[in-house]
Amino acid sequence: MKIPFSFLPVQPDSAFPDRSEIKRPIVALHLTAGDRSVIFFAVVDSGADLCVFPASVAADLGIDIPNRSCSLFSGSNDANQLAYFEELQATILPMEAPNIDPNQEPLTFPLYAGFCDTLEHVGMGLLGQEGFFSRFKISFATMVAFAYLVMVAYDKPVRAYLRSKR
């Protein structure tokens, strides 16, 4: 599956006076818990250890937090943050864009995702190493005109084959 990067507006500052936009690898995720679902943007973030979403997503999916599955993490400072985890079903929805194959199949996978209040201001989820990068082979080509990522399901038969060759 090929996914185009998205441009988002940002404010210039003294370090980047000419900047008015940033590009991020964003996917549209269909998240399902029980009979409730929501389509939500998430950033493919290789620097994140886990997959986390704003607490509002949990509320919309009918997931009660806080729950017993909590985990401490931190961001760019040392302040502790708490995320509450739940099993979901996630589907990456191919986004229509110029020069992209309109017939790509959605990718569905189980996702153990955390929810936290401290991500509310970001307004998007983060798809990190455990649970996302652990499941797909992902390549980035971060160039202005050809920004995209490619994901290939790294299925269990391949893992079993590789283990058998050790």
Binding site: P4, P9, Q11, I39
Partner: protein, 63 residues
């Protein structure tokens, strides 16, 4: 491959509110202080599968 340009549709979006974007991502169908309220408002307006997000502050880069 062309990037998806969300700068136009987000330019005048209400900061701090949850947004329900059209599937084509070319317009804000509804916005509200809560995610669920924005989603339900969009669905009542006929956008059955809105894409939900919140506009981050302009300084909010992710590290």
């Amino acid at each position: 491959m062309e990037p998806i340009d969300l700068t136009g549709v987000l330019k005048d979006a209400p900061r701090g509110e949850w947004l329900a974007l059209s599937w084509a991502r070319d317009r804000i169908v509804a916005h509200a202080p809560s995610l669920t309220a924005a989603k339900e408002a969009a669905q009542q307006l006929g956008e059955l599968n809105p894409i939900m997000m919140k506009v981050p502050p302009l300084h909010a880069l992710i590290l």
